[in-house]
């Protein structure tokens, strides 16, 4: 029984690290319509940065600065924000499809860097011994699992509140206006490049933060953790939960990670060891099926986008049905 609780805590901990990443994508895609297909690369930048900052000094690798975990997390977020800012500054002026190509390319380059910059990243073997929050409790699986869960739950809550305040404001309204009709928004004096760049870099920060946190809960990272399948998972999470809705992003992450984890353990118990690598493709199929099912039943995701952007309006909305907050399922 206690084992089950400990396992549940671990499952939720990992699911919530995906929730953070998914919240980052929601700022970029859900609010702003920026098509990022390089999520895996940006998550990796956060994870590696934090690992390098917080692991103990190592002889055969750069860094190991032994800094506190929180410094690593913030550093991971900032590093990813920096990378996304640069990439955005180069491509967001261009037609929108260039961003998709550029993010895809960036993820490939980052993957190659992880594999080949051995003195920095440890190459194919990655970086181990990443300090875990409350590592001192590691002897007691239950206490350790619950403490970790508490840490990530607080992180998700903080990120959620900070982003919600940011996005449900005139700033978020401009993002949505640009997404809906850029020409009209420019006619009203809004500079689309500025807003897109801000949203892309802030979303990048959150992705990097999520990647950093995840590295510390797993304790070990390698280039294999950051393959395009990760990008696909995060997209599935956002679409299932409801693009444009912060709560939807969190819910989608937990649900899709649930499907992934359960199907993964079924695969490993049903198929013989030599078939498992191939059977793992079933997990991807299952996510795909779940995605289609949600899109058929609720085209805007389980929790759709809320129509009124500004939270200031919800407070003083006129007392009539049409002005009330309601999810949009037209």
């Amino acid at each position: 029984m206690l084992d089950l609780v400990a396992y549940g805590a671990f499952f939720l901990t990992i699911a919530l690290t995906y929730a953070v990443i998914c919240l980052g994508l929601n700022v970029q895609w859900g609010q702003t319509g920026l098509f990022n297909v390089g999520i895996a690369g940006f998550v990796a930048v956060g994870a590696y940065t934090s690992a390098i900052l917080t692991t103990p000094a190592t002889a055969d690798r750069f860094g190991g600065f032994d800094l506190p975990i929180i410094v690593g997390w913030i550093g991971g977020g900032l590093a990813t924000a920096f990378v996304t800012f640069l990439l955005g500054a180069l491509t967001l002026r261009l037609r929108s499809d260039y961003l998709a190509i550029a993010t895809f390319g960036a993820a490939v380059v980052i993957q190659l860097c992880m594999l080949n910059l051995v003195p920095l990243t440890g190459g194919p073997f990655g970086i181990g011994f990443i300090p875990r929050p409350f590592g001192a409790l590691a002897g007691n699986a239950l206490a350790f699992g619950l403490a970790n869960f508490a840490v990530i739950a607080v992180l998700v809550l903080v990120v959620y509140l900070v982003l919600e305040r940011l996005v449900r404001s005139p700033w978020g309204r401009v993002l949505r206006a640009i997404r809906e009709d850029e020409t009209a928004a420019r006619g009203l004096g809004k500079n689309p490049v500025r807003y897109r760049l801000e949203a892309f870099a802030i979303g990048g920060f959150v992705m990097g933060l999520g990647g950093a946190a995840q590295a510390h809960f797993i304790g070990f990272i390698a280039p294999d953790n950051y393959l395009p399948i990760l990008t696909f998972q995060v997209w599935a999470m956002l679409i299932v939960g409801g693009s444009g809705n912060m709560r939807g992003a969190i819910l989608g992450a937990v649900l899709v990670w649930g499907i992934w984890a359960v199907s993964g353990s079924v695969v490993s118990s049903v198929f013989p060891a030599d078939q498992q690598a191939r059977a793992a493709a079933l997990q991807i199929v299952l996510i795909g099926v779940a995605l289609c099912a949600v899109l058929l039943i609720r085209p805007r995701g389980i929790l759709g986008e809320v129509r009124i952007v500004s939270r200031h309006l919800l407070r003083d909305a006129r007392p009539k049905a049409s002005a009330k907050e309601r999810p949009d399922h037209a």
Partner: protein
């Protein structure tokens, strides 16, 4: 209130100098020079395809002219982007309205407000009171504009449910929220029913009386004659005539351009 009498001899607020716009083979605008005096309401007329909207696109910055110059309050703005021109006080509406379809009517209008503290990431996090206070004031102003343009009833509806005429009104409300001093209105009354037409005309005249300079594209000659002291006629990208509406409509070249070979 005394209306500021437009003075055609004072420096123009907006001036086009030999503007040209070439689309592949077609010269949509071919060397147009026009000036809008402070407080003036100038009608821009001409048959379909004359190049009127193309003129607006260049004046507002959506199109970069092939050649020529645009001066706004004495500054050369030819290369400025549309969002910068609004910052300098020049606002335009679109012939085909461009509402933010999934946003509410009220938030469509609120988007028009300029220089909102809440549009900065920094202030959203660190000056929440100021953001809330401004938002509150902007909501007041937006509701006032919606009242003014008879859209109050629809404030909570998504803009996509509006009818064609209502979209025209929303377009205007959203622009007025930005409070530009020079307005380019592209057929603001097209598709609006006759009883509402009177209202729109009166609203536009009221704006002009507040001192806003207005360049108005309109096919309804009756409306133009009543509102504008001066009109500028274009045909096939060129200037055909300009002057008082009563003179211009008697000009044989104008009649010829409007009626074509039938004349």
């Amino acid at each position: 209130m005394i209306e500021p009498e437009p003075d055609p001899h004072s420096d123009p607020v907006l001036e086009a100098r030999a503007l040209q716009m070439q689309f592949q083979g077609l010269k949509a605008v071919d060397g147009i020079s026009l000036a809008l005096a402070p407080g003036e309401m100038l009608g821009l007329i001409g048959p379909n395809g004359a190049g009127k909207t193309t003129m607006f696109n260049m004046l507002a910055g959506s199109l970069v002219p092939t050649s020529g110059q645009i001066m706004l309050n004495g500054q050369d703005v030819t290369k400025d982007r549309p969002e910068q021109r609004l910052g300098s006080g020049l606002g335009r509406t679109f012939q085909i309205p461009r509402p933010f379809a999934e946003m509410t009517v009220l938030e469509n209008v609120l988007t028009g407000a300029r220089d909102q503290a809440g549009e900065s990431v920094f202030h959203t996090w660190f000056s929440p009171r100021r953001v809330a206070r401004e938002e509150h004031q902007n909501v007041e102003k937006a509701r006032h504009l919606l009242d003014f343009l008879l859209l109050s009833r629809l404030e909570g509806e998504p803009a996509r449910v509006l009818s064609g005429g209502q979209r025209k009104l929303l377009e205007l409300a959203r622009l007025l929220m930005a409070d530009p001093s020079v307005l380019l209105l592209d057929e603001p009354a097209a598709g609006v029913n006759p009883s509402l037409l009177e209202v729109i005309m009166e609203r536009i005249q009221a704006l002009n009386a507040q001192g806003k300079a207005i360049l108005l594209i309109e096919h309804n000659m009756d409306m133009v004659s009543r509102m504008c002291s001066r009109v500028f006629v274009m045909a096939a990208g060129r200037e055909l005539a300009q002057g008082a509406p009563s003179d211009v409509i008697r000009d044989p070249r104008v009649i010829q351009a409007y009626l074509g070979d039938a004349a």
